[in-house]
Symmetry: C2
């Protein structure tokens, strides 16, 4: 897959994980496109990645994006993580994991990934079937931030919930009719599960949750966009568990 | 413009405003597409709208949407409101208005409209230039809820801010470096201003705000998607001003 833009390249250069398979990094052969490019190119070479020059036309063809900022990264595939990654998370008092039950829209996946990183979540879990996977469009919507969080792809969400419970996590599912999201006494290790755009959580997933949470809304409104709901819930969770660690 | 789907038609049928200019409502001529359609069709006729039958092919061509649910509404234009609408809002203790400074992405406009309705906001203000306007894509993302809130289109946002201040509103702009969003003592009549996806608020708009608000984020993250940020801010505002009136 081809990812474009300076920010995505910077995110990839900042990664320590060896799991990321970069085939090559393409830079525009046009001079003076961007004063930052030469420094970025030498950093890319310095990190041992293969660098090639290409015409703007080639860059547009490969990325299908005119505003590619003269930079393209070719990845063999998105570096998904295994569930084992959860066990290797740095030990700390609080932990938030975001789990998605069949989110379909790449916009939503990208926005939720970005929000998860901003809220300090430790991992994002998606299913390998019936879910949007990480595509260039998802990376773009996430503003490249999806590289800062392990994206764990699992076959069986219910079994993953059991594993997370064994690791000491409590699981909160977003569902109409749940408890008021501000009145939930979240556990120090919390998983937030968001359901499919039109159907919500599957019954089996809902039944495995320790509690269901809901955002009370104005009269006659059932729901908001799933990425908007995830933001409201994640930042309330962040506020309760972590507070302001940005300083 | 052609809007599709049962929910959109229901929202339009529920509107009392005479400002909405419905040219005609098209129903599929295929029988048994949906058991709800006959009742919806007779309600549409009962409300005095022009009803026509059309083949599924015509419906797809007009709406460019395969999943049109056999229903299309043709509007002359989206029924924008005038700023005067603010003065005619029902008198109540609390009021929230959402103002958008050059939001570009139809996804964001649609999601923010839906969130605004869900959070109990009284109006949505957009600019007539350099902003996404209300298109069928926006209506779809809003799940049809954009018809439940006056969308006020103005030429000059700064002048509109002055008018709102004269009406007793306090204006809060979303901006990096603003005060912690949970520590703001919001006024009973509050306007929340969200800025452009990449540039944020324009300087003149920012300077007219009574206060700037920000969502503290994890290390090294600057921002989240504007519709996610709007959701976090609007529901915190709703919680402080309105509380749970959904019962």
């Amino acid at each position: 897959m081809y990812l474009h833009g300076r920010n995505v390249l910077r995110e990839i250069l900042a990664l320590c994980r060896s799991s990321i398979k970069v085939r090559r990094v393409l830079f525009t052969d046009q001079a003076n496109v961007d004063p930052e490019l030469p420094a970025l190119m030498s950093e890319t070479k310095h990190k041992g990645f293969r660098v090639e020059m290409a015409s703007q036309k080639v860059l547009v063809n490969l990325s299908r994006e005119k505003k590619n900022q003269g930079v393209l990264v070719e990845l063999r595939e998105f570096p998904y993580s295994e569930l084992e990654a959860i066990k290797n998370l740095p030990r700390k008092k609080h932990s938030i994991i975001v789990m998605l039950d069949r989110i379909q829209d790449p916009h939503n996946l990208g926005a939720i990934a970005r929000t998860s990183v901003a809220a300090g979540a430790d991992a994002l879990v998606i299913t390998s079937r019936a879910s949007a996977q990480v595509t260039p469009a998802v990376v773009k919507v996430s503003a490249g931030l999806i590289f800062r969080i392990p994206v764990i792809r699992v076959v069986n969400l219910v079994r993953t919930m059991e594993t997370l419970k064994e690791c000491g996590y409590w699981i909160y599912g977003s569902a109409t009719g749940g408890e008021h999201y501000l009145k939930i006494p979240y556990a120090e290790r919390s998983v937030l599960v968001m359901g499919n755009e039109s159907e919500g959580l599957r019954r089996l997933v809902r039944e495995r949750c320790d509690a269901l949470v809901a955002i009370p809304m104005a009269k006659r409104v059932d729901s908001i966009n799933v990425s908007a709901a995830a933001a409201v819930l994640l930042f309330s969770l962040r506020e309760k568990l972590i507070g302001d660690d940005s300083q």
